[in-house]
Every structure is written in structure tokens, then in C-alpha cells.
Point group: C2
Chain length 444, copies 2
């Protein structure tokens, strides 16, 4: 597809090109524009059929959007802006430098500009920042027929028409009516008779995680956003909720790998920015890891007597880290999915203890055989290594499962308590156990 379009563009077959583009999906066209050499982007964009142009624009990456806006004449800019939903406009503006933002706002009409400015004031990742103000509102004494008339008249520009919101004269949210309800009711029925009054909503300052949780729990198509007086200010649609869900997952995964989350795609982030997201954690973890060094220094004499013990330190530490990481990641995910709550902490500890015991016994046994047959160490040394392994694994799993829950209790993000931190903590303990057990068995 890409090659075909590039060929048409280079051979200046613009009419044919327009034909091909008009049959394509906006997301696919946007993807092709992204891959095109920058200088060709405005040319192809201008060939796009008018009704597609704004949709394609929304689907592009912010750097291409910025490039295009700079290339636009004032009229072209206004044409695109007129077609945008307010929430899309806000998403675009949030990524633009100040000069471009000013130019955009200068060319939006005053009413929309006010809405944009309002949404821009909500904190990032709040329900307010995710919402759009384009919804269909109905009044409770309308008939079903009136409702359809209203939907037909105002529906074109709404992000969804399938869920309509019944408000009173003060914009207070009274009920919800779906188009399905409307279609399946008598034309003369009144809205208040068919509306659902048991409303699931969020307030503007609620976190995006609450929003995505509600979408999943209640299988919603749209979620109304209200202010503290229960006045309807906007709605969030399922597609934006899905995007938010994916962003939350990316954030969690990054935190679990000791990276400060960003919302820029990897290849669009500069080396320096990437460095900034990684270095604080690396420094912190490196400094924490010096404790393990201290412990080894402390037991230098023991190691000199039994140099063979040194060889097993990496394996013991890695296994402890892996076991702790498994437990912590399982619990972190369980917490974020709502499968695990505070009150389950003792269930979790008891379960992890038993899993750890099973894992520990298995690994220690496998290791014992290997130590005697392959490494040919003495039984005493093998015993030291295997007992340490069992104890380390139990400790690692217990630390791994409790720290995320404690983090959540203290309103920290549990995701931070994943492998890197657990590993660093478990390392120190595993060494203490190792030298402790060695002292007892080998009398050093």
C-alpha cells in the first residue's frame, strides 16, 4: 500500500491518489503519512478528501501534527480545527509547543476555546482531562420522538449518540437513556419513564485508573463526568478508556522495570530523556547494592577459608531475586486488577509461604544433586548452599508478596516494589543467611 501511494505521489497522479485514499481507513492513511519523508507529508495531506482530513490528522503522531500545523495556512488550520472533537483537540494541544498552541487557540471559535481551556486545567490523568464535552443531552419531559428529533439535529458532531444524558435546567444529571431504549420504546413514551436513574459516573478530579476500572467493571460504552454538584460536564467514551488502560499498563510495566514512566513512544524519545527516566533508579539501586558488598567484606575471612563458597553467591542471589520477583509481580498485578485487597494479606502470605516452600525444596534438591555430582563439593558445603537456597527462597517470596501490599497501604505505587527493588533487598538477606548457615555448619 505504502509503495503504491508513494509511486502515485511521485508520478503526480493526484486524482488517482485521491481515489485510492478515499477508500482507505483514516488510521491506515495516518500510518502511511508517518512513514513518508517529512517534506512529502503536507502534499499528500492536501490531496486527502476533505471529510477524511481531520480524522487522519487525529490519528497522527504529535511531531507530524506539529509539522503539519506549521505548514498549514490559517484557513487550512481552521478547517481541521472545526472538525475536531474537543477532547482530541486537547490531546493535540497538550503535546504542542507554546507558539503552536497560541496559533491553534487563535483559530478556534470562542466557545470551543473556552471548553478547551477548561479541560486543559484539569490535572493530567484525571477524568476531566480525558473527557469530551460533545454529548447528547435530553430533558425528562421529552417524548421518545422528541428525543430522536434532537439526536438527528445535534448528533452529527457528537462523539457518541448512543448514550444520551438527561439533565435538568441546572445541568444536574438525572438519568441516562440509550438509543436502544429509545428504539425499543413507544414513540410517545416520556424520557423520564424509560431513563435509567441508577447512574455510574465519576467526578472531574478522579484518577484515570478509577475511570478504566469502572469501564471494565460495568462494561460501559461511555461514562458521564460530573462536578462536585453532580452537574454534567462531559463524558468519556470507551475508545479513550481503552487508550488510558493501555497507558496505565505501560506505566506499570515501566515502573516494574525501574523506569520513570513517560508517555512518548520509544523512538520519539531523545537519548537524554531516556537517560533521565532510567538513571535515578539505577543510582538508587546501585547505592542500595553496596550493602551486599559490605556484608561480603565483613565475611572476607570466611570466604578466604572456603573460597569455594564464593562461586555460589551469584546463583543464590539470582534465584532469590527471581523468586522474589515472581511473587512481587504476581501481587502487584493482582492488586491492580482488584483480585487482591489489603484484607487478603494473611491469605497471600500463607499461600506464598507454601509456594516458596515447594519451590525451595525442588530447587534445593536439584541443586544438591548437581553440587555433589557435577561440582563435586563436600556434603557439608552442598548442605550449606541448599539450606541457604531454601531459606532465601522463603524469605524472598515473603518479602516479594508483602512489600507491594505495604506500598499500597502507604498510598505508594505497588509497581515500584518489583524485581529490581526486591532483588536488591533479597541479595543482602541471602548473603546474611549464607554466611550464617556456613558459620553453623562449617564452623567458620
Amino acid at each position: 500500500m505504502y509503495d503504491q501511494i508513494l509511486a502515485l505521489l511521485e508520478n503526480k497522479k493526484y486524482l488517482e491518489l485521491k481515489e485510492v485514499l478515499s477508500d482507505m481507513n483514516e488510521a491506515d492513511i495516518a500510518a502511511i503519512l508517518e512513514d513518508l519523508p517529512m517534506e512529502k507529508v503536507p502534499l499528500l495531506y492536501r490531496i486527502l478528501p476533505k471529510e477524511l482530513a481531520a480524522d487522519v490528522f487525529v490519528n497522527m503522531e504529535s511531531d507530524t501534527q506539529e509539522f503539519l500545523i506549521r505548514a498549514f495556512s490559517d484557513t487550512e488550520l481552521r478547517e481541521v480545527l472545526d472538525e475536531l472533537y474537543v477532547d482530541d483537540a486537547v490531546d493535540i494541544i497538550e503535546e504542542m509547543p507554546a507558539t503552536v498552541v497560541k496559533r491553534i487557540l487563535r483559530h478556534t471559535d470562542p466557545e470551543v476555546r473556552n471548553s478547551i481551556n477548561e479541560i486543559l486545567q484539569y490535572p493530567e490523568d484525571s477524568a476531566g482531562s480525558m473527557m469530551t464535552i460533545e454529548y447528547v443531552d435530553l430533558k425528562k419531559y421529552m417524548s421518545v420522538d422528541d428525543a430522536f428529533t434532537r439526536i438527528r439535529r445535534t448528533g452529527v458532531d457528537k462523539e457518541t449518540i448512543y448514550i444520551c444524558y438527561v439533565t435538568d435546567e441546572n445541568r444536574k444529571l438525572l438519568g441516562i437513556v440509550t438509543v436502544k431504549d429509545l428504539l425499543l420504546s413507544e414513540k410517545s413514551a416520556k424520557i423520564f419513564e424509560i431513563m435509567e436513574t441508577n447512574i455510574i459516573s465519576v467526578t472531574t478530579l478522579e484518577d484515570s485508573e478509577v475511570v478504566t476500572e469502572k469501564f471494565q467493571k460495568y462494561d460501559l460504552m461511555a461514562l458521564p463526568v460530573v462536578d462536585r454538584e453532580n452537574r454534567l460536564v462531559g463524558i468519556i467514551t470507551f475508545d479513550d478508556a481503552m487508550d488510558a488502560l493501555q497507558d496505565e499498563n505501560t506505566e506499570d510495566i515501566e515502573k516494574m522495570a525501574a523506569i520513570t514512566p513517560t508517555d512518548k513512544p520509544y523512538l520519539k524519545t531523545s537519548v537524554f530523556e531516556t537517560w533521565k527516566t532510567r538513571i535515578p533508579w539505577l543510582l538508587l539501586l546501585m547505592i542500595s547494592a553496596t550493602f551486599t558488598g559490605k556484608i561480603i567484606s565483613h565475611f572476607e575471612m570466611a570466604l578466604q577459608t572456603y573460597v569455594v563458597l564464593t562461586a555460589f553467591i551469584p546463583m543464590l542471589m539470582d534465584t532469590g531475586g527471581n523468586c522474589g520477583g515472581q511473587a512481587s509481580v504476581t501481587i502487584i498485578r493482582g492488586l491492580s486488577l482488584g483480585d487482591i485487597e489489603f484484607k487478603d494479606i494473611f491469605k497471600v502470605i500463607w499461600k506464598e509461604f507454601r509456594v516458596a516452600f515447594l519451590c525451595g525444596i525442588t530447587l534445593a534438591a536439584a541443586n544438591f544433586v548437581k553440587l555433589l555430582l557435577v561440582d563435586r563439593v563436600t556434603i557439608a558445603v552442598a548442605a550449606v548452599v541448599c539450606i541457604t537456597m531454601l531459606l532465601t527462597i522463603i524469605l524472598a517470596k515473603l518479602i516479594g508478596c508483602t512489600l507491594p501490599i505495604f506500598a499500597k497501604m502507604m498510598h505508594l505505587d505497588p509497581a515500584v516494589m518489583a524485581s529490581p527493588f526486591i532483588t536488591t533487598i533479597v541479595d543482602a538477606f541471602s548473603l546474611l543467611i549464607y554466611f550464617g548457615v556456613a558459620g553453623l555448619i562449617l564452623k567458620i
Copy 2:
């Protein structure tokens, strides 16, 4: 809420209870049923207003569903089954033991039973297994008015009525019409005039990842599923796509932590099952980690001469593991979000090299100061540690960023190439570098 309901239940105020329940959302009632002592579940369930009961049932966990089905009379069972969408019925059946499945199928009417059996044959996580067969189909020569009549007549039982599918006499998918299109068109307009023929669809055997990708890329509300002859066999709705997306994320996260993914919630998984998901990876990683032991044994003499070097092994290995983990997780996520593709491999390597160099210099410098001031080692030893650190970090980031891409090239899941594996590989290399650098500088 839970306490109020429990109190009403225990005081046998069933009428009042029914009142309270009928105002509640099905997902909330299901959550309360989950928390109730098992023996009270059937009682509360039977109090539920009829029209809510099936919706509540769908929202419960599979073990509670099983318990309820066993408590149901045949009539009760049939009442619930009649209300279920086919895809929900399939989801429930998939989790039940064979005896319960037989009983369920015996009480479903033959046509639905055939559909259920058909869907059950599709492989897990395929588009076919996710779809429902309850969609609205229209014919191309219908008028808008006819279409509304058909929607009104058949729409009650459909999972969505907002997207309608235009098929020919052989069930071939010709186009898609939204209710928005219908509402905004003339009543006499013909379906073929307003339908969208540029259709985004999947085939039955397509993987769920392809499904969720399309939902996100094209902001879909529903996605048609066709067979190889382009015959429409079902649709997938956005709420199921969102659930699938969340499952995929959980799977990725588990794989990244070296856990075999399961789809059971943590607290519902037995200790033995949890052990089974964890132990193969732990064993594999433990065995791989013995290489590092071999390397240390090999350089035993060097370590005996410079015992101080041992103290820095854990820190070097941890830092290497953390750096590699950051790179690999970033790339794994980028690959799964579609931000990174094969062709970007050299861009990725070049970027990670520069990030690694910056991180390496920063950490090595911080470490150098600390080694001289806090640990008070000789400049030569400090140099050995810091040069090793820089080289290890560069190597770790390069291994971390390339292995996931190679895994994807070989059609393996990149998520397996996360921290645990990278750590094990980087450990061995970091030791080799350490002893190599020590040999050069300290002449041992």
C-alpha cells in the same frame, strides 16, 4: 452496602431486600454475592428481580457460578441460560467441569447449543472464541425505515444494535451501517447507499492480539468475524476486547517475571498450580546461573589475591541486570504496542548504546568517588570496578534491547526476554569483563 444487605438477609426482610437490589448495578450485586458466605448465595440470588438475575450471574466468578448451577433446579437453570448471550455462555462453560457442562447443554435449546459447540471448537484466544453470534444483520436493498423495523423487532437480544451488518444471501459480509448513519439518513434511503464497504474484519482463527490491536488502531465499537470465504460468523464487542486487552497485559507481565501465565485470579489458584507456573523457569534460570559459578571458580586464584574484588561482584551484577532489564522491558513493550518494528533494530541499538554510555559514565563516576572516599580502595581497584561497570552496562543494554527483537523475529514471545533472562546472561558476561579488566590493570 454489603453490611446492609447481609443484615436484611439475616433478618429475613426479603421484600425490602428485593427493593434495594433492584436499584443496584449487576456488577455490584455480583461483587456482594462473591463476598457472601457460600451457603447464603443461592438464597440472595433467588431474591433478585428476574430481569437482573442473568446479568448478575454473568458478572460472578466461575466458582460461584458453578456452586449456583449445582444449586439450581432445572427450571431455574433454563431461565438463566435463556437470558445469556452466546459468548457469555461459552465463557462460563469453558470454566466448568464436564458434568456441569453436560447439564448446561442439556438445558439450552438446540439452536443455541449448536452455536455454543461451534464457538467452543475455536482455539483459546482466537477471534472465534471471543465472538458472539448475536448481531443485527440487514440486507442491501432494505430502506432505512425497514432497517429500523428490523432492529426494533430483533434488537432486544443482540449484544449491540449500534453497528449493523449487511450480508448477502450466502452470509457474505457486504457492508456495515451504524445506527448513527441510519438516524442521520432519509427514511427512504437504501442501505447499500449509506453502508460503509471498507470493512475492517478478522478471520475466526486470528489471535486475540490482532483483535485488540484493531480495536485500538481503529477505535472500533464492534469487529466482525468472518470465515475464510468472508462469510460473517459473529462479532466481537468493545467490552470483550477490553477484557482481552487486560488479559494480554497480565500475560505479558507474568512472562516478564518468568511466570507461566494463567487466567485464574491469584487467590483462586491452588498452591500446587502456582508452584507449577513458577518452578520450570526457576529451575532453568538456576541452571543457567551455574555458569557464573563456573567463571568465579575459574578465577579463584585471582580472587584469593585480591579478596576485595569479591565485595563488588553483587553490585556489578545487579547494576548490569537492572540496566539490561530496563532496556529489554522498554523494547518488549514497544514491540507489543507497535511502536518498534524489526526494521528499527539498528536505530534501537544505536540509541541504547548512547543511553548506556550516558548511564554507564554517570554510575561509574558516582561509584568511583564512593570507592575512594567510602570504601577507601586503591585507585587501581576503583578503576577496575568502574571500567567493568561502564562496559557491563553497555553490554547489558545492548543484550537487553536486541534479544526481544530477535525473539520476535524467530516468532517467540519477546516478553520472555525480560529481566530474569537478561540478568542471568549479563551476570556471566559481567564477571568475564570484571576478571578481564582486573587481569589487565592489576596484573593478576
